[in-house]
Structures are given as structure tokens and as C-alpha cells.
Amino acid sequence: MIDNDLLSSMQGRLQKPTKPSPYTSPARRRTLIGFPPELQGAFGSGQTAFAGQVSGDRFSGNVAIFPRSNRIVVNQNGVFIPQAVLGNDVVVASEKEPLRAGGIRVIVSAQPRVAQAEAQESLELEFKSLAQRWRNETAHLSIASEKANNFAYQQIVGMGEKVLPIIFRELETTTSDWFWALRAIARDRAPVISAEDRGRVRRIAEIWMEWGRQNGYVSG
């Protein structure tokens, strides 16, 4: 016995996009616009369940989905990403009108390394902004704890371990008082500064840079 409600639901899920994409129209079936030639042959048009443009909060670009091989390819801002990820931590074309491919809601996330690079760039911009604000507000102070008792500096410390590579890059060019932040983040992993070296900021910077290299926060 057929459950009419279930059938109706399945028909709804299997519904193709009401407006056929030019990528999948019969006349252009063999051409995925925005993707390199090698892809056209590699997948073939017949396997393409959906291709078109999507846009969301974190992603916009051309998308092609190949359900048989469970693959998705995206072309974001001219950058071809061969192995994007279908996952949960993602962007939807539109919550109100999600794209559908073969009845599957299309959720698109750029490749993790691209997302990571963007996140790192964003973190670096935020760091630079906070660091500049901290310098403007505390450069005339002498006692480290007074300089660290600054909202911008505390936000940098609050970024935690992920900000360490950025602080180390900063430490290569300046001897600003980053030691307090480094110690606050590294906690019991922090290097010991000998009595002889205490207060000698260039030497302390060297010691921290060496620690950063040994712990993988400094490249090269």
C-alpha cells in the first residue's frame, strides 16, 4: 500500500529545478561554463545532476554536482576548486529556496584549505587592527601589566593559540611587549628566561622565536 503523503513528499524532493540551468540544457549539455576543459571530459555531461550558480553568505560561484561519484566541483571567483566538500558546516544558496539536485538539497562549502586561508587572513587583519589600537593607547606606558590591561591587547590574548604565528611574525620586526601575551597563551609551556636575560628585550625575543620554531609556530 502506498502512503500518499510519503509519495507526495518524495515527488517534491525529486523535483528538478523549475528553471533549467544553461549548464544542463540539452544544447549545452557537454559544456560546464566556468570549469576547465579537463573537467568536461572527466565527468561528462550525463553525470551532471546539477550545475549552476549559487551564492550564499560564505560562498558564491559556479557549482557542478556529480551524484554518481558523490563529487562536487566549484569555481569561486575564477578559482577552480576540484574537491569541495559537502558537509554540515556550510553555506546554503538560500534558506528560503534551497537549490536542489536530484532531490538533494545542495549545500556548498569551499574547500577547507581555502576557508582556512580566508579565516587566517581575517584573523591577521583583526590582529593588526587591535595591535595598532593597543599601541596607540599604551605606547607611553612602561609597566607591562599596565600595557596588557588594555581591551585590545586582551582581545588578542583571547584569540588563543591560533594567533601565535601572527605574533611571532610581529616579533621578527619589533620588540613590542608581546611577551606578556605569549606567556599568557603558552602558559606552562613558556620558556624560562634566565635572570641574566630578564629585561633584555632583544634576547627575550630570540628565546621566544626559538621556542616558536621548536613548537611549529614559526616557519623557516
Binding site: R135, T138, A139, H140, L141, S142, I143, A144, S145, E146, T174, T175, S176, D177, F179, W180, R183, I193, A195, R198, G199, R200, V201, R202, I204
Partner: protein, 162 residues
């Protein structure tokens, strides 16, 4: 008249110096701070709170006036009444606000000399010149015979290095 970056910075942070009554006497540097400068050092930072910075052995690491006075006592300074110039003595002044000591200046050539944070050393004729909300006011004074600053008589100025 075009102001130098140093003058713009100094007058921004120290409004009492907008009368121009000061002189920049060094490049800006982060190699030392005011607390070290007042103790006669220009190659490391003194700081009671930061474990990475120097603080005299045997002195409490705390941002209090007794700890600061004990720290400078290791350099043969003793407490005195005021910052008036005295023949045969050199003096330091310790500034404090409601959070405790924040800055130290030393008497040099009849005027006061201060290292301003990460910035420049300046000579300022009055103690009031660098008073502000961050530094507070000069509230404690110490002095020692100028002979302690004579390298022919003393190799090291401060006890903790002997």
C-alpha cells in the same frame, strides 16, 4: 612650524608639555623603560609584574610604593622629602596613580629626565610636565650622593649586581 613625530607623540600623551617646555634627548627605543632609566640603566627593562623583565633580587615583585622604594634602595637611594635640587645629591621621583606606581624620573643636570614608555627620553624642567592620568603625580622621592654615579669610585651602581 612643522612638529616632529616625537613632539606630536609627546604632546599627545602628555598635555602638560604642550607649552613646549621639554627637550627630546634620545631616539625612541624599547630596549629599556623608565624604571630602568631612573636606576641608571639603558639596556634592559625593569618591571615588578612581568616575570620576563628585571626586578632586583630580594625585592617583592609587586606594583606598590614600598616595593619600588626597596628596588631603588638597592641602588643606594634613600627616601627624601621632595624633588628640590640638592648639591652633592642626585634624586629620583616616583609617580603613582590610584593603581600604584607607574613611572620614575631622575634628576639630571638640574632638570628631570624621563624615558616615556616605548618612546623617547625627554628632559623636562618640572615634575608636573609629565603628570597625567596614566602616570599620576610624583608622590615619592629618593636621593643618593652623586659619588655613586662616579665610575671612578663605583664600578656598579646597584647592590644587586655585586
Amino acid at each position: 612650524m612643522v612638529m616632529s613625530p616625537a613632539d606630536i607623540w609627546v604632546q599627545h600623551h602628555f598635555p602638560n608639555l604642550r607649552n613646549g617646555q621639554y627637550r627630546v634627548t634620545s631616539e625612541d627605543t624599547r630596549d629599556y623603560n623608565c624604571l630602568a632609566w631612573a636606576a641608571g640603566e639603558n639596556d634592559r627593562k625593569w618591571d615588578p609584574n612581568d616575570p620576563d623583565h628585571h626586578w632586583p633580587d630580594g625585592v617583592l615583585r609587586e606594583q606598590t610604593m614600598p616595593a619600588f622604594i626597596a628596588a631603588y634602595a638597592t641602588c643606594h637611594y634613600v627616601e627624601c622629602q621632595d624633588g628640590e635640587s640638592e648639591e652633592g645629591f642626585e634624586k629620583i621621583a616616583i609617580y603613582a596613580n590610584q593603581r600604584g606606581p607607574q613611572h620614575a624620573a631622575k634628576q639630571l643636570n638640574g632638570a628631570w629626565s624621563s624615558k616615556l614608555g616605548d618612546g623617547w627620553d625627554i628632559e623636562h624642567p618640572t615634575l608636573e610636565g609629565i603628570e597625567n592620568s596614566a602616570y599620576g603625580k610624583a608622590v615619592a622621592f629618593m636621593k643618593r650622593p652623586t659619588t655613586f654615579n662616579d665610575p671612578k669610585l663605583f664600578v656598579n651602581e646597584c647592590d644587586y649586581e655585586k
